[in-house]
């Protein structure tokens, strides 16, 4: 360390930050109830909690986006008032948001400089900014090209730009709001390396996540919030994943869903040498062949952006298959319309559930019939049968444990977990023959994740063929009967469950066919 109290970025260290008795009320909700929280220089303090537990509110208070109704914030032992993000930035607090705040069409340097006064008055000083970015990147081991455009960068790189942005603005304390949600396992490792470096240099980090293994791996202390109240704070070394999970949810949580032994049936979905393009004009899928049998879950593992989206779209009729053949229950369905595939009882849980699976301004009931709205009994000679729709959605709400004030509630007012439950309810209640589930638990809290996985397993046990696309390796490993690894639009290998280990899959995901072979090139 160069000098005491000074960070390598040249800014003063934040030795300690303490939030005392913070209370925040929203109409009808006590979001934070007398929460105490503190973080010190040189540590990662993880903040755990389910969606709705109050994590984001607490952090938004710290970042100056909300004002607490009660409680105080002490910086290095002195009370401070943070009434806007400007104040918090001034105090050396930075926040990496879940949704990156970057302008896609600008360069890294331009994004970093955005909103800051130029050192040359009316002229830009991007060369100085770039120089400083390179300095910072060197210090923290963040590889980044200041002249690259954001749209050219991977998600992991974009996150690094966000970190640089915070450091550039002098952040000594960094709040990372679910930073790993969008990253590949490799990118997570890189992020952790960066975080460790920052901590060693004296930064204080607050790490928000619901991935327990990450919390256990990276943090020094962990605090758990539940229903707006802090359940406790402990050194991470004195806890286990199971403890933390139980703490968070307030009851015993089962991690691995009960998989019954199921006789696999006939091949329901078959892809033979399927190729298609991608949105970027490059090949999306290259001669992908796989099949899914009745009563099995075929997991597609892979690093984000290796053709998973294209695969899902090719199977569901949303993307034109340029070569090869897709067969559904023996029938050639290549390039049929989505509606025709729907009629053949293919169900689809889309990756971007809010964009593709839901209509935000439609009620829960209206969303429940999105796929079948034109069919009996929901529609009769062009008129909607409101009674039947209400009955149907009431039934699904009960059966799939959707938490909603009423079935007339607009979908956008539900939590992420409950929105996914509506999608799952709609797609699974049709008694599908084949289900394609893309990232079905991404962004969900533990309780909802557990529920969705259990539902998929039950469908499998009932003899449905399921193609599961997930970037969460744990999910793939715990659910799949067989695992196909996708890399640059190709299936690297298909491994039976028994032979699949994270290490083996990890290599395949990186494009290495087996340990002796070299990386597959295009």
């Amino acid at each position: 360390m160069p000098e005491a109290n000074i960070l390598p970025s040249g800014k003063a260290r934040i030795d300690s930050l303490e939030m005392r008795g913070v209370t925040k009320r929203f109409p009808g909700v006590l979001a934070n109830d007398r929460v105490d929280f503190d973080v010190k220089s040189g540590e990662v303090h993880a903040l755990l909690g389910e969606n709705g537990a109050g994590k984001s509110t607490l952090m938004k208070i710290l970042y100056g986006l909300y004002h607490p109704d009660e409680g105080e914030i002490l910086l290095n032992g002195k009370p401070v008032t943070i009434s806007s993000p400007n104040d918090s930035i001034h105090l050396g607090i930075g926040m990496i948001h879940q949704h990156f705040m970057l302008v896609q069409t600008l360069t890294v340097a331009e994004n970093v400089a955005l909103g800051l006064p130029s050192s040359r008055g009316l002229l830009t000083d991007l060369d100085r900014v770039s120089k400083r970015i390179i300095e910072l990147a060197d210090i923290y081991g963040l590889k980044i090209d200041p002249s690259a455009y954001i749209w050219q960068l991977s998600v992991g790189q974009q996150q690094r730009v966000e970190i640089i942005k915070a450091l550039y603005r002098g952040a000594a304390l960094l709040i990372l709001d679910e930073p790993t949600a969008v990253l590949t396992p490799q990118e997570v490792d890189e992020l952790f390396t960066i975080m460790n470096q920052m901590v060693k240099d004296g930064h204080a980090l607050i790490f928000i996540s619901h991935k327990l293994h990450e919390v256990v791996e990276i943090s020094h202390r962990v605090s758990v919030l539940r229903d707006g109240r802090k359940i406790g704070t402990r050194p991470t070394s004195e806890t286990t994943k199971q403890d933390l999970a139980n703490w968070m949810v307030g009851r015993e949580v089962g991690f691995a869903p009960n998989r019954g032994v199921v006789e696999r049936g006939e091949v329901r979905l078959k892809l033979e040498a399927v190729s298609c393009g991608s949105d970027r004009g490059t090949p999306g899928l290259r001669a992908v062949s796989l099949d899914v049998q009745a009563g099995e879950i075929l997991g597609i593992a892979g690093v984000s952006g290796n053709g998973q989206r294209e695969l899902a779209e090719a199977v569901t009729g949303l993307r034109k298959v340029t070569e090869g053949k897709v067969t559904l229950e023996g029938e050639n369905v290549t390039n049929l319309l989505p509606v025709e595939l729907t009629e053949r009882m293919l169900s689809y849980v889309p990756e971007e559930r809010m964009r593709d699976g839901m209509i935000r301004n439609f009620s829960v009931a209206e969303n429940m019939i999105l796929r079948e709205h034109h069919k009996m009994p929901f529609s009769r000679s062009g008129f909607l049968n409101l009674g039947e729709i209400a009955r149907h959605s009431a039934e699904l709400i009960t059966k799939f444990q959707v938490k909603t004030p009423s079935q007339e509630t607009l979908a956008k007012n539900l939590s992420g977990g409950n929105i996914q439950k509506v999608v799952i309810a709609r797609e699974l209640s049709r008694k599908p023959r084949v289900i394609l589930a893309a990232q079905p638990t991404r962004g969900l809290d533990i309780g909802a994740t557990e529920y969705v996985r259990q539902q998929l397993i039950e469908q499998r046990n009932a003899g449905t063929a399921i193609l599961l696309i997930s970037e969460d390796l744990d999910e793939i490993l715990s659910l799949s009967d067989r695992i196909a690894v996708i890399y640059e639009g190709q299936i690297m290998d298909i491994v039976p469950r028994e032979e699949a280990t994270p290490a083996k899959l990890g290599l395949l995901m990186a494009g290495v066919k087996d340990e002796s072979a070299s990386v597959v090139t295009t």
Binding site: P350, E352, R353, D356, R360, F383, R442
Partner: protein
């Protein structure tokens, strides 16, 4: 309690906004040396002061409502129809030619045929931008406005040439107008006022549009496509077709408004060369009425009456207190600006309240409102 106050406030907001606009208008009246109280008194009397005045208000409200119904459909489908003027004109031309051609048929039949013709004419005029938008990605705001210009010239051509009143054709003046419709083809009037059956037809249609939007599969689809084309596509809805349908239906209702103007009010088409000369700008004001009615067909009824009243009342105000006619237009504009802004403000307030209430409950994944999709809002 607080939430009930809030919703009461929300419901009254358009009224408050209207009053605020009149308040600003009062300042302008003062500057012009007119007494605002006197002026607004004249406005009130002009719009509601007598049976005849109220009937005139309803006569003006009728085309507004019909256009507004179409606007409810298209805006719900997330297509912006600015082509009401042109659609009214084309609907009226078709409907008028029906009345002038089938002179031997019974009145009720000709009226029914004319309604259909108006519906079809407006539908074509709305459908063309619909097809352009859905299949060629042409911005519908531009195309509908341009279709207005085409319609005006088409009307001027027809009324000077093929459809000109035969008696005018012989005269030197050659006023560009059609012959008058025969007596039995004219919509029933509630004598001695000019209030005609068209007003009732419009109200019935408002109920039908409500049913269309919320009780039929077609309406469900139009709304679904308007709210989220992606999810609609995933659910197997033909997005393009419903974009076309939304604009086509929207145009059809405007076309019907054109028909009603001819068969209920003027009994002939006449042009002064501009679109508003025939439509009275109902094609534009109908948009405002629909927005004022929160894009709800039933709420569009009182909204249309309000704007009808403003139009009629402003005329009498102009006569009584001697103010420039431009001020009347400005007053209308003020109401529009205030109401539309208040609506935007209300939505923002509501979103903040909702966000606050369910804070922490927000799903962590991408916010579908933000991605780089270009959403055009008028």
């Amino acid at each position: 309690m607080r939430s009930r106050l809030n919703s009461l406030f929300d419901a009254l907001l358009p009224v408050i906004a209207t009053l605020a606009a009149l308040g600003v208008g009062a300042v302008m009246l003062l500057v012009l040396g007119a007494n605002p109280l006197e002026a607004y008194g004249a406005l009130w009397v002009g719009a509601f002061g007598s049976t005849n005045a109220f009937a005139e208000t309803l006569v003006k409200a009728t085309p507004l409502l019909l256009v507004a119904l179409g606007i409810c459909i298209s805006f719900r489908g997330d297509v912006i129809n600015i082509g009401g003027e042109g659609q009214m004109i084309v609907g009226a031309i078709l409907a008028t030619s029906v009345g002038l051609t089938f002179t031997g048929l019974p009145g009720w039949l000709v009226i029914a045929m004319a309604m259909l013709a108006g519906f079809i004419g407006g539908g074509i005029w709305g459908g063309i931008p619909g097809v352009l938008k859905a299949y060629f990605n042409v911005n519908e705001i531009l195309s509908t406005v341009m279709m207005n210009a085409i319609a005006v010239q088409f009307m001027n051509f027809m009324l000077r040439g093929p459809m000109i009143d035969p008696s005018q054709a012989e005269l030197a003046s050659k006023i560009p107008q059609t012959a008058r419709l025969l007596e039995p083809f004219r919509l029933l009037r509630w004598a001695p006022t000019r209030l005609h059956l068209g007003a009732l037809i419009a109200v019935v249609l408002a109920i039908l549009v409500y049913i269309l939007l919320w009780r039929t599969t077609l309406g469900y689809r139009i709304r679904a496509v308007g709210q989220n084309p992606n999810a609609s596509r995933y659910a197997g809805i033909d997005v393009k077709r419903h974009v076309v349908l939304a604009l086509l239906l929207s145009g059809a209702f405007a076309g019907l408004a054109g028909m009603i103007q001819v068969y209920g009010v003027n009994y002939r088409m006449i042009t002064d060369g501009s679109a508003s000369g025939f439509t009275g700008s109902a094609g534009f004001n109908g948009i405002v009425a629909a927005l004022f009615g929160q894009l709800h067909p039933i709420w569009s009824i009182p909204a249309s009456v309000l704007f009808g009243a403003l139009l009629v009342g402003a005329n009498s105000m102009q006569r009584m207190v001697q103010i420039p006619s431009a001020l009347v237009t400005a007053l209308n504009g003020l109401v529009v600006v205030f109401v539309v802004s208040s609506e935007i403000w209300r939505r923002r307030r509501q979103r903040r309240r909702l966000a606050a209430a369910k804070e922490e409950d927000v799903p962590p994944k991408p916010d579908p409102d933000t991605p780089g999709k270009t959403k055009v809002r008028a």
